[in-house]
Symmetry: D3
Subunit: 278 residues, 6 copies
Amino acid sequence: MTLFPENFADALLFDDCPHEDLTTVGLGIGSVPGRIRAQFKTPGIVAGAEIAAAVLSRAGASVCLSARDGDLLEAGATILTAEGPAESLHAGYKIAQCVMEYASGIAFRTREMVDAARAVSPKVQVAGTRKHWPGGKRIALAGLLAGGGIVHRFGLSDSILVFDQHRVFCDDFEAAFRALQARSPERKIAVEAGSPEEAMTFVRLGADIIQCERFSPEVFASFADAARAESPNVRLSAAGGVNAKNAALYAEAGADILVTSAPYWGAPQDVKMRFERL
Amino acid sequence: MTLFPENFADALLFDDCPHEDLTTVGLGIGSVPGRIRAQFKTPGIVAGAEIAAAVLSRAGASVCLSARDGDLLEAGATILTAEGPAESLHAGYKIAQCVMEYASGIAFRTREMVDAARAVSPKVQVAGTRKHWPGGKRIALAGLLAGGGIVHRFGLSDSILVFDQHRVFCDDFEAAFRALQARSPERKIAVEAGSPEEAMTFVRLGADIIQCERFSPEVFASFADAARAESPNVRLSAAGGVNAKNAALYAEAGADILVTSAPYWGAPQDVKMRFERL
Amino acid sequence: MTLFPENFADALLFDDCPHEDLTTVGLGIGSVPGRIRAQFKTPGIVAGAEIAAAVLSRAGASVCLSARDGDLLEAGATILTAEGPAESLHAGYKIAQCVMEYASGIAFRTREMVDAARAVSPKVQVAGTRKHWPGGKRIALAGLLAGGGIVHRFGLSDSILVFDQHRVFCDDFEAAFRALQARSPERKIAVEAGSPEEAMTFVRLGADIIQCERFSPEVFASFADAARAESPNVRLSAAGGVNAKNAALYAEAGADILVTSAPYWGAPQDVKMRFERL
Amino acid sequence: MTLFPENFADALLFDDCPHEDLTTVGLGIGSVPGRIRAQFKTPGIVAGAEIAAAVLSRAGASVCLSARDGDLLEAGATILTAEGPAESLHAGYKIAQCVMEYASGIAFRTREMVDAARAVSPKVQVAGTRKHWPGGKRIALAGLLAGGGIVHRFGLSDSILVFDQHRVFCDDFEAAFRALQARSPERKIAVEAGSPEEAMTFVRLGADIIQCERFSPEVFASFADAARAESPNVRLSAAGGVNAKNAALYAEAGADILVTSAPYWGAPQDVKMRFERL
Amino acid sequence: MTLFPENFADALLFDDCPHEDLTTVGLGIGSVPGRIRAQFKTPGIVAGAEIAAAVLSRAGASVCLSARDGDLLEAGATILTAEGPAESLHAGYKIAQCVMEYASGIAFRTREMVDAARAVSPKVQVAGTRKHWPGGKRIALAGLLAGGGIVHRFGLSDSILVFDQHRVFCDDFEAAFRALQARSPERKIAVEAGSPEEAMTFVRLGADIIQCERFSPEVFASFADAARAESPNVRLSAAGGVNAKNAALYAEAGADILVTSAPYWGAPQDVKMRFERL
Amino acid sequence: MTLFPENFADALLFDDCPHEDLTTVGLGIGSVPGRIRAQFKTPGIVAGAEIAAAVLSRAGASVCLSARDGDLLEAGATILTAEGPAESLHAGYKIAQCVMEYASGIAFRTREMVDAARAVSPKVQVAGTRKHWPGGKRIALAGLLAGGGIVHRFGLSDSILVFDQHRVFCDDFEAAFRALQARSPERKIAVEAGSPEEAMTFVRLGADIIQCERFSPEVFASFADAARAESPNVRLSAAGGVNAKNAALYAEAGADILVTSAPYWGAPQDVKMRFERL
C-alpha cells in the first residue's frame, strides 16, 4: 500500500484540468460511458499504480487495480481498468498515465541496477538519493521502491551525512564530529569522502558509514579491504556516477550500498491507455 | 520574471528539510557565515534561477541573481550567489541546485531542438507537451521557455485538441466537430491524426491545426503540400517521437510546430554549488 | 458533471462553520433526524447543485440530486434532498443554498441573454468574462455554463487578448503583433478596439478576433460588414455594456460573440430549503 | 488595517494567472516599466484597497496606497498607484480592480442604507448577513465595514440565532430554549420570528434579540412598542427584504438593527485603472 | 458529531508518517491483517474519538466506534476497534492514541471542575479559554466539550472581552465603551476587572459580563452581592487561577461562569491500543 | 535559527483572529500606537521566540528579538518587543504568548531532566518522543531542543523502532529482523523490550539500540552490565515513566538515552506581555 495525502491526487488532477475539459465538453461526449485499460507496451515493473488509480477515481471513474507496485508484468497485461463517463476518463487519464510512466521508468532502471549488483553480491542495496526532480519525492520514491531500491535519505531531517560542504565550516572537524556523535546516539553517521586517504581518516574517527565519492571500482576495492581491517563493522557506500553499467563492478568491489540518482533520469516507460466505448 | 506562489518555494524546501538539518545542527556549525556560488560545469542555459533563489531566500540566505532564465552562460560563470549562516545554506542548497539542474537540462535540450529546426525553417516553434513529470509543470515549463520553446498546452482547460480517444465516443464525428466549432469561436481547434488520409478529412472539416502523429518526415512533407493546397491557413504540427535528431527533418518537411516531450527526459545539467566560509 | 477539488466544499463549509454550531448544539437538537428539500420559488435554471450537494455531504448528510446543472425547473420542483441529523443539515444548508442561489441567478441571467440573442442569430455565443467576484471563478462559471454561456477566458494563461493597456507598452505595435503571432501558432489572437477605425487596422494586421468595445449596435453593424469584406474569417465580438436588453441588437448587428459580465451581477435566485423532521 | 492571510492575495492572483500571461509575454513587453493609477469614475467609498495592493505587490509591483478603506473619494481621486514592469502590472491589475470594484459597490450600497436609516434614527446599525457570495466572506465584509455596516454573523460558531428551521426539531421549545440559555451565558440569544404573536412569545421567554422576518414597517412599529413594554432591554432587528428604500421606514419603526443582504447584490463600482509607460 | 475538515486527519497522519513506515516495511509485515482495540486503562471520558477514527480510516483501516465523545467508560471498555493490514494500523495508531489521550485528559479535568462546581451551584458553567496549546483548538475544545465545559471564546472574532491591555490605548474609556456598545448590539460585552472597585465601575457602565481576575472567593462573593444589587442581570465570571480545587469555592461565591485554562494542562489520559493478529 | 513554513505563523494567527478583532475595532483604538514587551515572570528558558515573533510580524507589528531559543533568562529580562498599532498588537499577542509559554514550559522541564541526568552521567541524552500534543510537533520540538533535549523520532519515516505491536505480526521474528537489517544498512535498529530476558535476545540478534520499557533503575543497571558484556557497542535507552525525578537514577544505571514524553505535559511557563501606549 502506498499512503499519500487525500489532496495529492487532487493536486495532480487540477493542475492539468483546472476547469472544464474544453475538448470533451465541446464535442458533447461527456456523459458517454467508456473504459480505459492501462497496459505496458513492453514488459515492465508496475509503479505509481495506486496514485494513478486515485487520480482516475477523483475524476469520477470506478477503478480496478489488477497489479501492485513492484509486480513485473508482460507487455499487454493489464495494470488497471477504469470505467466511467468520457468526461471522467478524459479528465484523469493523461495524468494517471504520466504517473505510471515516470514511476515505472524509474522502477525499471532501479531494478536493472539491483539485478546487476546482486548477481555478484546478493546483499548489496541500491539506495536512491534526494536528487529526484524537485517536488517529486512521492512519485520518484514510489518508482525506486517498486524497483527494489531503498531510500538513501528522505531529506535533511531523517539522516546524517557529512559533506565537504559541512567541513568547510568546521574549525576543528574532529571536535565537531565528536559533538555530532554525542548528540546522535540513535542514528548512524555517514561521511562522504573524496579520496581513500580522507576516507580512512573518517573510518578512524568512527564514522558508521563511509560514502565514497567517485572512487573507481579498483580504488574502492582496495580501500574497502583496508577499511574493514581497521573497523570490521563500517558500512561502505559507492556514490557519484554509479549506474546500471558499473553497479556490478562496485558490488564486486565490496560496496554495501550503491548510492545513485541515475534511475531518476531517462525516458518514462510507455503505458498504453486503451479506450473503448461501453 | 517568473511568477510563482509564495508557498511554492516553501513546499520544495520543507519537503526536503521538514525539521532540523540533523547534520548541520549536530556539527554545531549552524551559525557560521558562508557563501555559495552556483555555476555550470559546462556551458548551459540558465533556467529555474528565480525559483532557486526563492528557496535559498526562504531558508534564510541573502541571494544575488547574476543571470536570468534563458541566458546562455559559459562554464564557471556565476548564476547566483547566496550568503548566510551555514544552516540556511545547507537547508536550501540542494533543492536550489536540483531546480536549476532539472530546468537547465530541459532548457538545453529544448534549445538544441529549436536551433536544429530553425536552421532550416526560421519560424518553426518547438512546443512542449503536458507529459512532463507529474506535478512538475512549473519547473518543467520554466526550462522549456528558457530554452526558447513554447507551451503546447498547459492542460485541458486552455486549448482544444481532439484525440482518437475522443472520437471513440462520437456517434457522428462530423456533427460533434461542428458542435465543438460552434461552442469555441475564440479558440483554435486542433485534431490529432494517425495517417495522412485521416488528416486530410480533418483539414476538410475545417480543423485549424492538424497534429500529425508519427508521420515520417517524407509522409509529413507530402501531406503538408496537399493540406495547404486544400486549406492555405491550416497549421501543421509534427508529434510523436519528435526530438533533437529529427527536428530539422520535420521542420524541412513543412511543420509549423514541433510538439515534443523529449526535452523533459534526460539527465539534469550539472550545476556546481561552491561553498566558502566567510 | 462538475469537477472540483475535494477541499473546495470543505473550504466553503468551514468558512461558515469553523467550530460548533452554537445554536443547534445549545438547543440540544443535534442528533434529531430530518430532511431538507431544495426548491426554486419561481421557475429557474439549476446551477451549482453538485457543489451544494458536496457541501451537505461533507456536513454529514445523505444527499440525493434530483436535477442537473442546466435543467430548467418549475417553481416547487425539487433540486435536491438531504437527510441526516439536524446538526449536519444546519451546518451545511445555508452554504448549499447560497451556492445554488448565486449560481442559478447567473444561469438565469445568462439564459436570458442567450435566448434573446439567438432569437435573431442562432449561432451567436454569450461569453462570460473574468470579472466575476474575486475568488469565485468556480461558482460563477458553473452558473454561466448552466445558463448556456461559454467561458470567454479562464484567465491570462489560456487565451490571448490584446488591450489598449498592452499597446501603451509597445514602441512598434505591428512588430509586437507579428512577434505575438509567431509565438502563438496554436491560439487565436484577439484584439480589443475602441473605434471602428482602430478595429479595421487590427483586421488588416490579421487578428483572428476583434473585440469591439462599446460600439453602438449601428456602428457595430457597419464595421462588421467592412471587416468581413476585408477578412471573411475574422470573428467579431461585442463587449462593454452588453446585457440582456441589447443582446439581440448586437446579435442582429452581426456579432459572433457577446462578451459580458452582466450575468454575474444582480440578486441571487431564491432557493427555498424546506425542513422537516423525520 | 485589514488582516488577511499571506496566501489570500496569492490565491486570487494565481486563479487568474496560473502560468505565464500569454499576451504580455507574446508581445515581448514584459520588462517595460509602467505605472497604474486606480481611480473611481464616480464618487465612491474605498474598499478592498489593501487586498488589491497585496495582489499587485505579489505580482511584482511597488504599490502606494493613497486612501484607506472607508474613505469617500471624488471621481478621479487616486486610490492607489502601482509601478513595475508591464508583466507585473498586467498579471495583477484586473484582479486588483475586481476586488476594489466589488467591495466598493458593497460599501456604497451599505452607506446608502446607513445614511438613510440614521437620518431618522442615529443609533441604528446596518448588519450584513452571511448571504454574501460563497467563499467571499473576506471581500464582502471588507465592503460592508467600509460602508459603515457591522457584521451580523461571521457564521455559525460566533453567534446564536434560532430559526424556524431549528424549532422544527424541538419537541418542547421552551425547554430547549432554557437549555440554550443555560449553556450560553456569555452570548446573546436571538430568535427569528415570522409574526408579532410569535415574536411576543420569544420576548416573554427572555430572548435578547428578536429578529422580525418580513414584518411591514407598521407591524414592526406596533410590535416594537408592545415588546419594549414587556421587556425594556430587548433588541429588535428587522430582516427580510430590508434595503436602501425601506431602511428609513424600519429605523423609524423602532428597529435597533437592520439585518440585510441587499448591499451584496448589484453591480460593482467602476474603478478605472489608468496605465502609463514610464 | 464532530465536524472537522477532510485534511485535518490527513495533516495529523502525514506529520507523523510523511513517507513509508521504515519499521513495518522493513520487517515485511505490511500486509498481515490485524485489529486494534482502544481502551482506557482507568475510567475515563471519551474525547477525540471521531478524529482518531478518521486518522485510522485515512491510514487504510476499517474503524468501528463503540462510544461517543462525552461517554464515561469503565477501564477496559472499548472506545473503538480498527481492522486492516499491519501497515495501516501502524501508520495511524499512535496519532489516534495521542488524539484520544490528550483530549480525554482535558475532558477528565474539565469534568472534575464541572462536577465540583455544580455540586454547590447547579447552573454554573465551566468555560475553557483560548490558552490551549497553539494550533490545537480543535482537539483541545473537543476535550473541553466532552467534559461538559463550554467555549469561552473561539478567538477574537466571535466575542467581546475588554482587557486592561485595551484600556491602555483609550483616552476616554467611557466614550470608547459607549462606542463599543453602539457598534455591538448583537453581542454581550465582557470586561475584565482586576479589583472589586474597578469591577463596580464596569457594572455601572453597563457591561453585560464582569470577568473578575484573581479575586479570592471571599472578595468575589462580596463583590457579587454588590454587583447584583446594582444590576440584577449582570453575569459574573471568575478567572485567573481557577481550577478543580477552588471551583466549588467560586461557584459558592456566586460565579455564573468559571473561566479556566487549567484542564488543558496535565498528563494525557492513558489509552491502551491492544493489537492482535487476525 | 528555527525554520518554519511561511504559512505556519499565519495559520496560528488566523485560527485565533479569523476576521476582525471585535473588541479592538469596537473600542475604536485600532490605530493607536503601542509597544509590547515579553518577559518571563520567573527565570526561564527562551523557546518558540522566533515563531512568536513571526506571528506578531504577520499581525503588522515590528518585532525585535532580544534573546534566542535556549537562552536562560532572569525574571523580567526581555525576550522580545513588538511595536505597532493596537490592532496589530492585539491580533497577535495572545498567540505569541501561548507559543512561548508552551514551548518554554517544555524547555524548562527538559532542562531539568538533562541537568539531573548529566550531573551523574555527562554524556547521557534526553530524547523527546512523538507523544507531544497532536499537530504540535514544531512547537513541542522547539521547546525540547531549547531545553537541551534531542529528538527521539520525528515520526515513522526517519527511524526504526520495533515494538511488541510489530512482533505480533511476525511468524518468525528472527527472520523478519534479518530482513529489516538487510534493508536498512544506513540506519540503526532499535527494539523495545519489556523485560531483561527479552532485551537480551535482542542484543544477541544484533539490535543497535535496546529501548528498555519500564525497567526499574536497578533492573536496568544489571541488564546494562550484561548487555555490554555481550555487545560493547549496543546503546541502551530507558523509556516508560522516565521523568525529572528518576532521570538521575536511570543515568546512573547506565542509560545512554532517556526517552521521555514527560516534558510535554504540565503548565506553560508564564510569559508576561507588558503593554504600553506610545
